[in-house]
Amino acid sequence: MVTIDTAAGTTPKRRPRGPRPTRGYRVFQVVNAIILTGVVIVTLYPFVNIVARSLSDEAYIIAGKVNLVPRGFNLDTYRLVMSDSLFWTNYRNTVVYTVVATFISIVLTTCYAYVLSKKHLKGRNALIGIAVFTMFFTGGLIPNYVLITSLGMKNTIWAVVLPNAINVFNLLVMKAFFESLPVDLEEAAAVDGLNTYGILLRIVLPLSKAVIATMVLFYAVSFWNSWFTAFLYIDQQDLLPVTVYLRNLIAGATGAENVGAINAADEVQAEATLKAVTIVLTTLPILLVYPFIQRYFVSGVMLGAVKG
């Protein structure tokens, strides 16, 4: 849903000075611009279409008449979804879970990655091995459930924010980034009297804004979109995140559960527009975060990539 392809849109802004660009180069630029505009349209179209659908009357959607502009403009479905107080409770949960979980994840991932980036650390390979092992093997659903339950975390925020706190892929990207920082810098800091924590907090972290911003984005998006963990470990509807709420709403509007029961007209409007409304409501806030992190983002991902 959330595309990160926009990085492709950054064409070289400044032409090299000196000799005038050749004819071939100008042709290339025109073609380039056309193709990239095409890419932008292709990526943008589905989203604009979804927004238009969410604002349209269901009959026009069924008739296949909604493209870029809403037809039969109405806000009924928005009203239907947003009039439920449970929706707002769950939305707040999502925000809280995302913020807390992202914070915990960033702290833990940074600490682990920083330690792993130190080549002189004894047992470093074992520590990496432990992390990588979890990429390929898991305990399985039921043992995990039993674990979380017996730790008493069921029906608490911790069941949502702790189990997936460290993503190994992100961990390895961060480790690579830290390894790319010059060792001399840290040695100099040590000579000037900083201890390990001081080095991390005052020297390394300020230099790592790019990768941290990237990680914040990765984590925040994944926690924002996630529903399965909460679904597993939470039995009380007012503790669920909004993703589960909306997922259930769609199932209720489309599911076989309703067979034979004819619903009142206002509940029915939902089905076609409901999916669109859900997508808009869940993606919009996280999309708004993008522009602010974008500038770190491009350089951040690439930094880790080279060293891999």
Binding site: L141, T149, L240, V244, E257, I262, N263, A264, A272
Partner: protein, 546 residues
């Protein structure tokens, strides 16, 4: 999304298997006989017609399927009134409807399931039986006089027997209907029929004539363009047609095994003569341009679109899609259009009502058996789900508050209470505000109760369908665990192959003269071995229980 959840389901299933292996050793210690330790709170005398009331306040945990149209509220009149009448409080573990089955598997697998596990459809209990986590309820029917009474009165023994496992016991308390309730059929544009001076078709052959006439008048249309093709092509059409040809089911209700009630023989559905005839019929419709070949491949929305734009006149329907989809769609494009759901067309099998009389029902955790409140719980379940009083309470609510009775004792909604748009002016909602007519508690029963909130035209439809005899019930052939494992290995390739060939035959990509070759290919996919195993299980069951 589907793939993902299916994979998760597989993971859970694998997990269950390990749990079941672990549980195998424990053996069967508690038998029905000794219940004296488990009668706390129970009524000493409890028989048909009695109001259950626990002798002391009790609380039972229950898995709760949370429907978004009426999200769970703790202050519903349903809960308070239930406690008032029965002295029992239900402690719901709320699970979103969207992923109810997955969570149910997880909780049972983890040994963390609530005592009462409702909303389980017949057949779904099979996977849990070997885990030993589910109570064989058939051992305790003496505690449930209303349940037994309904089985007896409505002669539901054949249906119930189908639920028996290899050990001769059943593990699910299904919802019980007095009359089968067939919802799906075809919807047809009656204004076109009038224009062509045609009657509503009663049989599949008449339908062919009607389609032919429609095509003659509107040559640039496909008169029949169908929906419900996901997840299986022709989901509904194949299923109702198969029933009309005397088969157990096809399409989205694909059944490997069908039953010939006259010859008392089980046979493989996809290789039968009836199946061939059914495909021949559909192939004829496609060949003559009467049935849209796209019917089998596209989404529902596209089919609705064609109907709305007058590009087709016949489509699969249930009561809900007729009112919620087709009529509003058509009203916007063509105010003169009229569309109705027609009684299921009759095929070679004659007049039958193919719907099952069993509904989703309740599983009970084995650990409930160890509770000293066990007998009280069974009596409570019996009253709420199976007594006339309990069923009326769950559906209609409280007399004077949510419903009133007329002189004949027939209930109607109270004037300020609305449900399914019956009382549009009502300010309170029977489901949302009171918690009645809840899918978890209210289902099954007598036709009057089941159809209480149906529209007059749907009641008319049900009257026609109820006049038709239920179809013969297939005898049970419960598998042992090893057999079930073996069967499921054969089942998937067989089913996929039948689906594939079905489509090829219908669309004319494969000629029906190649039928014998197709049957031979089925044999190559272990069809005979499959049927041998079914036959063996059938005979074993007959020998042990017949």
């Amino acid at each position: 999304m589907f793939d993902r959840s299916r994979r998760r389901a597989a993971v859970i299933a694998a997990g269950l298997l390990t749990v079941s292996l672990a549980a195998c050793g424990s053996g069967d210690e508690s038998t029905e006989s000794d219940l004296s330790e488990h009668r706390v709170g129970a009524m000493a005398e409890y028989k048909v017609g009695d109001q259950f009331r626990a002798t002391e306040p009790l609380t039972f945990s229950m898995l709760y399927n949370n429907h978004p149209n009426y999200p769970l509220k703790n202050d519903w009149l349903f809960w308070t009134e239930l406690t008032k009448r029965t002295n029992v409080t239900i402690e719901p573990v709320a699970v979103p409807l969207s992923d109810y089955e997955q969570k149910r598997s997880l909780l049972i697998g983890a040994g963390d399931a609530p005592l009462i596990i409702p909303k389980t459809y017949p057949g779904q209990e099979d996977t849990f039986v070997s885990s030993g986590a589910i109570l064989p309820v058939s051992d305790y029917l003496d505690l449930m006089p209303h349940f037994k009474d309904k089985i007896e009165k409505w002669n539901l023994h054949p249906e119930i027997n189908q639920r028996r496992q290899a050990d001769g016991k059943f593990y699910l308390l299904p919802g019980l209907h007095e009359k089968p309730w067939q919802d799906y059929s075809l919807a047809i544009r009656t204004d076109i029929l009038e224009e062509l001076n045609l009657e509503i078709p009663k049989t599949w052959d008449e339908l062919y004539t009607v389609l032919k006439a429609m095509k003659a008048k509107y040559p640039d249309t496909y008169p029949f363009s169908d929906r419900f093709s996901q997840p299986n092509p022709g989901g509904n059409l194949l299923n109702i047609l198969a029933a009309s040809y005397g088969l157990e089911g096809a399409g989205w209700n694909f059944q490997h095994v069908s039953w010939d009630a006259n010859a008392k023989k089980l046979f493989y559905t996809g290789a039968s003569e009836q199946y061939r005839q059914m495909l021949t019929y559909l192939n004829k419709l496609v060949k003559e341009g009467l049935l849209d070949p796209e019917s089998f491949t596209r989404t529902d929305d596209q089919a609705r679109q064609k109907l709305a734009n007058g590009k087709s006149f016949v489509i699969s329907s249930n009561a809900q899609t007729l009112v919620n989809d087709y009529r509003p769609d058509l009203a916007k494009t063509n105010p003169k259009a009229k569309i109705v759901k027609i009684p299921l067309p009759i095929g070679p099998a004659g007049e039958i009502n193919p719907a099952s009389r069993l509904e989703n029902g309740i599983m009970i955790s084995k650990k409930a058996r160890d509770s000293k409140y066990f007998v009280a719980m069974m009596q409570f379940i019996d009253w709420l789900w199976y007594s006339d009083a309990g069923q009326e309470f769950a559906k209609w609510g409280v007399e004077g508050t949510t419903f009133v009775r007329d002189a004949n004792g027939k209930p109607t909604l109270a004037p300020d209470v609305d449900v399914v748009g019956l009382n549009p002016k009502g300010t309170k909602h029977l489901q949302k505000d009171f918690g009645f007519y809840n899918g978890v508690f209210a289902y099954g029963g007598k036709p009057e109760l089941v159809q209480a909130f149906f529209s007059p035209e749907e009641q008319e439809f049900q009257k026609v369908m109820n006049a038709r005899p239920p179809r013969p019930v297939m005898p049970p052939f419960p598998f042992t665990d090893e057999e079930r494992e073996q069967i499921s290995l054969w089942a998937t390739p067989l089913r996929d192959f039948v689906y594939q060939a079905t489509l090829q035959f219908i669309l004319g990509q494969r000629d029906l003269s190649q039928w014998d070759a197709y049957v031979a290919e089925l044999k190559g996919k272990n069809m005979d071995a499959y049927m041998d195993l079914v036959q063996k299980a059938y005979e074993r069951y007959q020998k042990n229980n017949g």
